[in-house]
């Protein structure tokens, strides 16, 4: 069965979607990601959708769900590289994906996640008041 590969990079998971998303693929990805986050104890998930020309409301909701799911498992999610046309469509549909972090490309997304991690670590090391 077709699957979207999930790569591990240190404490982050990298998902690059290169094929057209259909609903089944999306559900499988969601399952796989949940399992992998728990198995690798990942702290961040980076989803690159720069190759996606079309995102429907179901897939958009799935991204929101993944972000929430990751959050309860203590991982941050960044959605990167959304195409302008996709962004316009989602905005027209009223999907704002609040709660999902976004970045223009993988590099910036990675920097975003790293900054978040560092911030948390600084909080951890700060003396309790």
């Amino acid at each position: 069965m077709e699957r979207i590969p999930i790569l591990r990079m240190g404490e982050f998971l990298l998902v690059t979607i290169q094929v057209d998303m259909h609903d089944r693929l999306a559900t499988v990805l969601q399952d796989d990601l949940a399992n992998r986050i728990s198995a690798t104890r990942a702290r961040g998930v980076l989803i690159d959708i720069s190759a996606l020309d079309m995102v429907d409301s179901f897939i958009a909701r799935m991204f929101g769900d993944i972000a929430q799911m990751a959050r309860v498992m203590d991982a941050e999610t960044a959605l990167v590289g959304m195409q302008p046309s996709v962004a316009i469509t989602l905005a027209e549909m009223g999907v704002s994906l609040t709660g999902v972090r976004t970045a223009l490309n993988v590099e910036k997304g990675m920097a975003l996640l790293r900054a978040k991690m560092e911030e948390e670590r600084a909080d951890d090391h700060a003396p309790a008041e």
Partner: protein, 292 residues
């Protein structure tokens, strides 16, 4: 009277060549002749073709309804002629005269053929008048349509010109909007901005609406959508230069700009963008050797 058979088709059958030469003369003295825009030979070609189509359509004996299928070739030809005239720069009356000037030559022939029968003559004159008026109106309509297409295209070009996206700094795009922001233009703004964001991979976009005089709910919604779409792509959007009237309208309309960063001026927005990117602008430090 109702049983009378019109003799217009007959007149055309018999005297096509004379009518054509009379018509050419008529056109030469009328407004429609514009030697600067159109050669005489070309006009003659058009006139000949029209007369031929006109005669064929008349053979159907249907003189009233030009929407009928026998009139299709005539209508098509008139449409074509009107379109080309509109593009060449003829005026509407000059275009209409092409068809209307056929009246005089036709009247002359009808008068001859109906000699001594004033009732019949009147009937046929009336028929020709109605028919040619309809065709004349049809040509003006087509002329108008072509002009409207031109206006539409120019409007489109203006839209493109009116939404420049400028790079204020590396990674910061500025989009000054001047003039009324209707829904169509907002859409254009959104598309241009997002495409430029993707091209330049800029992190911050500043939309400056100092030059926007009025705003309605749909425009406000469009601005909000633009901000949402920018965020979805992974960039930040700052709106600057909201004028007092617009601020009042936004509040009265109950539009919630809660999540959107708004700044009073472009300078303020730029400062906010710098801050977000971890940049700072300060006075240049003087070299130690330089005198004060």
């Amino acid at each position: 009277m109702a049983t009378m058979k019109t003799r217009i088709p007959e007149v055309l059958e018999r005297h096509e060549a004379e009518i054509l030469s009379d018509w050419m003369k008529e056109q030469a003295t009328a407004l429609t002749q514009r030697p600067d825009l159109m050669k005489e030979s070309e006009l003659r070609k058009e006139s000949t073709k029209f007369l031929k189509l006109f005669r064929e359509a008349l053979a159907s004996n249907n003189l009233i309804d030009i929407q009928q299928s026998f009139w299709e070739p005539v209508r098509e030809f008139i449409g074509e002629v009107s379109r080309s005239r509109a593009i060449q720069g003829f005026s509407p009356s000059e275009t209409a005269t092409f068809v209307l000037s056929l009246k005089q030559p036709l009247f002359t022939r009808l008068r001859k053929i109906h000699e001594g029968q004033p009732d019949y003559l009147f009937e046929d004159l009336w028929n020709v008048t109605v028919l040619l008026d309809k065709l004349g109106l049809y040509s003006v309509e087509n002329f108008q349509k072509t002009r409207e297409d031109v206006i539409g295209r120019q409007q489109k070009e203006m839209f493109e010109l009116s939404t420049p996206v400028v790079e204020l700094w590396q990674g910061i795009l500025g989009l000054p909007i001047i003039g009324t922001l209707d829904s169509k233009r907002s859409q254009q703004v959104m598309e241009t901005l997002l495409n430029r964001l993707a091209e330049t991979q800029s992190e911050v976009a500043v939309i400056d609406i100092t030059g926007v005089p009025v705003m309605d709910t749909s425009t406000a919604q469009h601005l909000l959508k633009t901000v949402t779409a920018t965020r979805l792509m992974g960039a930040d959007c700052i709106i600057s230069g909201i004028r007092p009237q617009i601020a009042q309208t936004i509040v009265h309309l109950g539009v919630n700009l809660g999540d959107v960063t708004t700044k009073a001026s472009m300078a303020g927005a730029l400062a906010a963008a710098f801050k977000r990117m971890g940049l700072a602008v300060g006075p240049a430090r003087r070299q130690s050797g330089e005198t004060a």
